[in-house]
């Protein structure tokens, strides 16, 4: 009975939060933290290498930053597991924000075109 009570409470709790699947486990969370730390270490290491002078430096850094961003949003913010309405509420404005930022940078001639 106690088990039923607990699983009922947890199920209702997950439904209230709009989750469609279970969260990652404790172990997965630690792996995610390790990957995020490793990417950060690589970012800082690259900053101190001659690769900083390369034309690929900025795209590589932006790529690593985007991967970190996506990992946090997908796993820590549970967007991968949540209801699609939450995904829409976040990704919609994010697309508008990135588009606005890009348009402004073109407008103020930060990009050569």
């Amino acid at each position: 009975m106690a088990h039923d009570h607990h699983s009922g409470v947890e199920e209702a709790s997950h439904q209230a939060m709009g989750e469609e699947h279970e969260h990652p486990t404790w172990r997965e969370y630690k792996w995610v933290a390790l990957i995020l730390t490793l990417i950060t270490v690589i970012e800082v290491w690259v900053y101190y290498t001659p690769f900083k002078q390369s034309t690929m430096f900025v795209p590589v850094l932006l790529g690593m930053s985007a991967v970190k961003f996506a990992i946090v949003v997908a796993f820590y913010m549970h967007l991968k597991y949540d209801h699609k309405l939450f995904r829409t509420l976040f990704i919609g404005p994010l697309i508008i924000a990135i588009s606005t930022l890009t348009a402004l940078l073109f407008l103020f001639s930060k990009f050569k075109y």
Partner: protein
Amino acid sequence: MTTAAVPHQAHPPTTTGLDHRKVAIWAFIGSECMLFASLISTYLIYKGKSVVGPFPHESWTDPATGHVLQPILNIPVTSMSTFVLLMSSLFMVLALEAVENKNKPAYQGTLRGNSSFWLMATALAGATFLGFQAFEFTSFVHEGLTIRRNLFGSSFFTLTGFHGAHVTAGVLWLLTLYSIDKKRGLGPKDAVLVDICALYWHFVDVVWIAIFTLVYLIS
């Protein structure tokens, strides 16, 4: 037993079937994306257009005094604060997991089930990040960079200051949850309260991920 427990959990009926508080926090986070995009855009547009130093990545000689000012950004210190903020996100998910699973035997009496510990650890990590930021701001002012000094100073302090204000609000939110947890204990029925705080906290973290790359690492 199960049906008796559910009404304590369930939110009032909604058209979406989802808790309004969680819909609201995601809508808020969406609007915050646009706020920070505007602040980051402003920083990037003004980047390299300052007439006088100090500059973020280049040294500058003051023509009046001949004094040479070194590049002002301190990458090692900011890397440490970035690491602390990343770890705070780990502590936050562990706090949420502890609250969600508090009634499970495997979590009772263990560190995994100690939500107070993880909430306080997250708040302390956030406070440590703010300490790094206070150190950075103070050292910049001592080196001659104020919000009125040049375009870099204005846009940099506005962007990172707004982010710091968000971290401060997050720390206060976490300490409130910690107090509630100490007073009456947070359980699975309160998971949505911790979840919306966690979403806000992780958002503050992802904004810093963008700022760290765009402001500190890209010259």
